[in-house]
């Protein structure tokens, strides 16, 4: 009985000691891990934000660069060669490579030279430089000419004694029918570019347009 009492008395102190020791050791371990992890988390989040901002910036740059080429416009010019056929008398026909319109034949030169040379070339073809009758005739010529960016001499020049624009057939220029745009100087001859009649130095180079009237079998060479 006494021995049993002694054993019972011994066991509890050991157990109590172990119980007391185990609790204190856990809390410190638990506290340490979260702190280091928290630091890592903060740093990662900061880095993440920086990278996201960088990514956004890069994306914007890429888009800007991609858009640049598309801004360059590509223009395709389709030149239509309108072949207008007008009924004409059996006896009256235009020479080959000439254009027929109402009662006139027109020829567009394929080379450039001065106004005088243009007029001489028309003369050798039995024609004269173009004498524009009205806007409708000018419109026909514009539609027929292939080269849209060339100037063409016409039979209109600025005469010194009269100080006036005159057609080579002696007729005075009528500003109600056509307008001359540009500076008029002595020694000026008229050329057309698009729908505009422009004064030009007669010694300059331009292509030219000849005309021949169908009503006259032997057109006169006025110069």
């Amino acid at each position: 009985m006494d021995t049993a009492s002694i054993y019972l008395g011994l066991k509890p102190p050991r157990t109590l000691g172990a119980w007391h020791e185990s609790p204190p050791s856990l809390p410190p371990d638990a506290c340490r891990c979260p702190r280091s992890h928290r630091l890592a988390l903060k740093l990662s989040c900061a880095g993440l934000i920086l990278l996201v901002l960088t990514l956004i910036g890069m994306s914007v740059l890429v888009r800007v660069l991609v858009q640049k080429p598309s801004r360059e416009k590509c223009c395709v010019f389709i030149q239509e060669n309108l072949n207008k056929t007008t009924d004409c008398s059996v006896n009256l026909e235009c020479p080959q490579d000439w254009l027929l319109h109402r009662d006139k034949c027109f020829h567009v030169s394929q080379v450039s030279n001065t106004w005088e040379e243009g007029q001489a070339d028309c003369g050798r073809k039995g024609a004269t430089l173009l004498l524009i009758q009205d806007q409708e005739e000018l419109r026909f010529l514009l539609d027929s000419i292939k080269e849209k960016y060339n100037s063409f001499w016409i039979g209109l020049r600025f005469t010194l004694p009269d100080m006036n624009w005159k057609w080579i057939n002696g007729t005075t220029f009528n500003s109600d029918v056509l307008k001359i745009t540009g500076v008029t100087e002595n020694g000026s001859c008229a050329s057309i570019l698009g729908d505009k009649v422009t004064p030009e130095s007669c010694a300059s180079d331009n292509r030219w347009i000849c005309q021949k009237e169908l009503n006259h079998e032997t057109p006169s060479n006025d110069s």
């Binding site: 185990s22 979260p34 890069m58 991609v66 960016y149």
Partner: protein, 208 residues
């Protein structure tokens, strides 16, 4: 003697009982404390560990992915910049000898044409030999402004960089601005609308 021994024994027994009771109480308290601490601490630390690991892993993966994407974007941007620069320099320019020439698609007066060329780090076209002149003529289908100009018909012809023209090829006409036609070099007033040609040395193209 026997009575005294019994008393002692009784006292011992009483002491023993008291001690046992105290021990039991302490044991119960300890167990409870231990259970509580173990349960709370173990579960918390376990959960925390898992959460920390998971979040950390996810963050690492995301960061790596973003770094890769940014690097690729940077590479793309460099390539595009190079391409665009090269394209801007070479597009529509034709090389001959040590020069590049640009032929315009539209018309304008001489002054505007020169301003356009200068905006491209170039000048209205200058030819220095017959080869270049013939090349320019072959590429034209209408008259084009070039870089020859003078103050009046009494003044000498000059290039746009103000060097005097050496009169190798005759210039027709009495205008102040030079242009090329299929007939050669001619001149006219500056306000006539024409296409134009710019020229630039190939050194500049390489620098691009």
């Amino acid at each position: 003697m026997t009575a005294s021994q019994d008393e002692v024994a009784h006292e011992r027994l009483l002491n023993t009982e008291v001690t046992t009771t105290d021990h039991l109480e302490n044991g119960e308290t300890g167990k409870k404390i231990q259970e509580k601490f173990c349960g709370i601490v173990s579960s918390k630390s376990h959960c925390r560990r898992f959460r920390c690991c998971g979040v950390t892993m996810v963050l690492i993966v995301v960061v790596v992915l973003i770094v890769v994407v940014v690097a690729l974007s940077a590479i793309m941007i460099k390539q595009m910049s190079t391409k665009n620069t090269y394209a801007a320099c070479l597009q529509n320019w034709t090389g001959v000898g040590n020069k590049y020439f640009y032929f315009s698609e539209y018309t304008s007066n001489w002054t505007f044409a020169q301003a356009f060329c200068m905006a491209q780090e170039a000048q209205l076209a200058r030819f220095d030999n017959e080869e270049e002149l013939n090349f320019l003529k072959r590429h034209m289908n209408s008259s084009h402004w070039i870089g020859l100009h003078r103050d009046s018909s009494e003044h000498p012809w000059r290039w746009t960089d103000n060097t005097e023209y050496n009169n190798t090829f005759l210039i027709q006409g009495d205008g102040e601005c030079g242009f090329l036609s299929d007939n050669g070099i001619s001149s006219s007033r500056d306000y006539i609308p024409r296409k134009w040609i710019c020229s630039r040395s190939s050194n500049y193209m390489l620098q691009c």
